[in-house]
């Protein structure tokens, strides 16, 4: 028995080793390094010292924290939009059409993921540009005579972010809806509930764990995204990740960039925590 137990232990450690390596080398160590450098200042002679200056910069300069507030507000908005857009899709795929077509259509949903974010974002440039598909079409049918400015605005940025993150909302919602027994809907209707009541009192509460986990993923993806805001956003739509990028690669102030990175992590995690508390959801249930 001892030998068996030992054998189990070795297998167990072998299996957990890649996970531990991944976590420590790729996540924990870089973050510790960033955390340290966010508190480090540099004297003219190149010696480092402890300072809170980088964090003070964030709160003292309106431009920084306003950008953050703007980014967070957009991220929340896009998360809500993603829910509104994808819930009917998830419901249709799981409850309305037959299983046979559903899996094919779900596969279609995944296509944007295959080509990568950069390519999808360029795709939207082709669609939304001044000489893009939409403007050319509207001019052709005579509805407008000069192109509507859509590209490089908050609008195009929202569309792009929504498009690249939407899928991460559909999948968790679909998986909760799949386990929803149709007779629950029938029972509610039998007890006199209208379609709206069934939706708000039965379907939404039932799929809440899926909505919450989808919401967390979309919010985190959007708030931490760089490509879509950078390419599709205008000059007015400053995204907080662009600030971080600037500190690291333009001004080469790594300490400042690290502090911004940490602030992004902390504040966005807090927003999720508050949202979970407000909606009465628990993180443990969301995972299932």
């Amino acid at each position: 028995m001892m030998e068996n137990k030992k054998g189990f232990n070795i297998t167990f450690y072998l299996l957990i080793l890649p996970v531990l390596l991944w976590l420590i080398v790729l996540i924990v160590l870089p973050h510790i390094y960033l955390l340290i450098s966010s508190f480090q200042g540099e004297t003219d002679s190149g010696a480092s010292f402890f300072t809170l200056e980088h964090y003070e910069t964030f709160f003292k300069n309106k431009i920084y924290w306003l950008t953050f507030v703007n980014t967070a507000a957009y991220a929340i908005g896009i998360t809500v939009l993603a829910f509104i857009v994808t819930f009917p899709v998830a419901f249709y795929l799981t409850k309305v059409i037959s299983k046979k077509y559903a899996s094919f259509l779900a596969l279609l949903l995944l296509i944007p993921l295959w080509v990568g974010e950069l390519v999808t974002v360029y795709g939207w440039m082709i669609i939304l540009g001044d000489h893009g598909v939409i403007n050319e079409f509207l001019i052709y049918i005579g509805l407008i005579d000069k192109p509507i400015e859509m590209l490089y605005t908050n609008f195009s940025m929202t569309i792009g972010l929504l498009y690249v993150s939407m899928l991460f909302m559909v999948v968790p919602i679909m998986s909760t809806l799949e386990s929803l027994d149709d007779s629950l809907i029938e029972a509610a209707s039998d007890l006199g509930a209208s379609k709206w009541t069934i939706f708000t009192k039965i379907i939404i509460p039932y799929s809440m764990p899926g909505i919450t986990s989808g919401g967390i993923i979309v919010f985190m993806l959007v708030i931490g995204d760089y490509v879509a805001p950078d390419i599709l956003g205008g000059k007015s739509s400053l995204w907080f990740t662009e600030q971080i990028y600037n500190e690291f690669l333009s001004t080469l102030d790594w300490g400042q960039g690290a502090a911004f990175g940490f602030l992004l992590l902390m504040i966005s995690s807090s927003i999720i925590w508050i949202a979970l508390k407000l909606s009465g959801q628990k993180l443990e249930r969301v995972g299932s």
């Binding site: 027994d181 007779s183 629950l184 029938e186 029972a187 509610a188 209707s189 039998d190 007890l191 006199g192 509930a193 209208s194 009541t197 009192k201 039965i202 509460p205 039932y206 809440m208």
Partner: protein
């Protein structure tokens, strides 16, 4: 007694399959009506048409004389207890039972009163705040029934609600349901494939097969006088013997067993005999019976339900015979020969 439900020529066709074929029946106010049939006979389709979840192809449904055709489920005065129970998992017991009443926009005090009263009737006081996922099978059952009954429906439809319970609990719930129905006086329409559930609880049972009603009768009549071969075979236990021919008042089985059966005016194909219809060692003065000898093959002991498998001496036909509830035949064993009698009336020919 007034009719609460009248069904006229109800038919449901799916693409290339007719699930329910021209079914007509009435249900009396306050009755316990069961629809009994094997799986796939169309009984659930019939129930879902009454509740309004599927639209009939032809025919009419009247509840208290009002036509229900085209009326959606939420506006029909019927409620349904689902096979899966369909309790709302995100709500507690109280919220589940109050769900329907809240939809009627009743005052909170009235909702509370009716919910409390209904929970008391199904002995679930003190469980209001429990989550439905924390309840036992029997308790969940009672929540589902309470949730429907609190709506005071004209008719309560039950779709095999005892199917998921274990045997002991099912026996118990059978009696409890029957008592609850008597106490409340609500009309129950109960769907089952379990003949014992149907016979024990119902005032009337309809036996359904392949989309049609074979017979609608009281449980006793159904058992005593099955009108068709299907009913004779499906309801209760029977010996089934195929028949070869008839001459006058005599019938002969395929294996050559000749029995007297008076009053036949057709050539039957099959004979059904209940195991308890056989009389062991009939006295000399009994008339109107067939007498024959059997040799005991095996004794199938099952307490009060003990039977013997026996071979009829002239034909070799194997029949099941119930042992009477007394000590007289307690010592019957393999190889014994006994004289057996069977009344003409108890030979059911089709």
């Amino acid at each position: 007694m007034s009719k609460i439900l009248e069904i006229k020529n109800l038919t449901k066709k799916f693409k290339d399959f007719t699930a329910v074929k021209k079914v007509s029946f009435d249900v009396d106010e306050g009755g316990f009506f069961s629809i009994l049939g094997p799986s796939g006979c169309g009984k659930t389709t019939l129930l879902r048409m009454i509740s309004g979840f599927i639209k009939e192809s032809h025919g009419e449904i009247f509840i208290r004389g009002e036509s229900m055709n085209g009326i959606p489920p939420e506006h029909r005065p019927v409620n349904i207890v689902f096979q899966s129970l369909a309790l709302f998992p995100m709500m507690n017991v109280r919220e589940n039972v109050a769900f329907g009443l809240k939809r009627q926009k009743l005052k909170k005090a009235e909702v509370d009163d009716r919910v409390a009263d209904m929970l008391a009737r199904v002995s679930l006081q003190g469980f209001e705040k429990k989550k439905v996922t924390e309840l036992s099978g029997g308790q969940r059952q009672r929540v589902a029934i309470a949730r429907s009954l609190v709506m005071k429906p004209s008719i309560l439809l039950l779709d095999e609600p005892l199917g998921a319970l274990d045997r002991k609990l099912r026996e118990h719930m059978k009696i409890e349901l029957k008592l609850l129905q008597k106490e409340l006086g609500t009309t129950f329409i109960y769907i089952t494939h379990d003949q014992s559930e149907a016979l024990v609880m119902s005032d009337k049972v309809a036996v359904m097969n392949k989309g049609r009603f074979e017979q609608i009768d009281t449980p006793r009549n159904l058992y005593k006088n099955p009108k068709t071969a299907f009913v004779a075979g499906f309801v209760g236990e029977s010996n089934r013997l195929e028949l070869k021919d008839r001459d006058g008042d005599f019938i002969t089985t395929k294996n050559g067993w000749r029995l007297e059966k008076q009053g036949l005016d057709f050539n039957p194909e099959v004979l059904y005999v209940r195991p308890e219809a056989f009389i062991l060692a009939p006295t000399e003065d009994l008339t109107g019976i067939n007498r024959f000898n059997v040799k005991i093959k095996t004794v199938l002991f099952d307490g009060s339900n003990t039977k013997v498998s026996a071979i009829e001496s002239t034909s070799g036909a194997v029949i099941l015979i119930s042992l009477p509830q007394n000590a007289k035949f307690e010592n019957l064993k393999e190889g014994d020969t006994v004289e057996v009698g069977i009344n003409y009336d108890n030979l059911k020919c089709y």
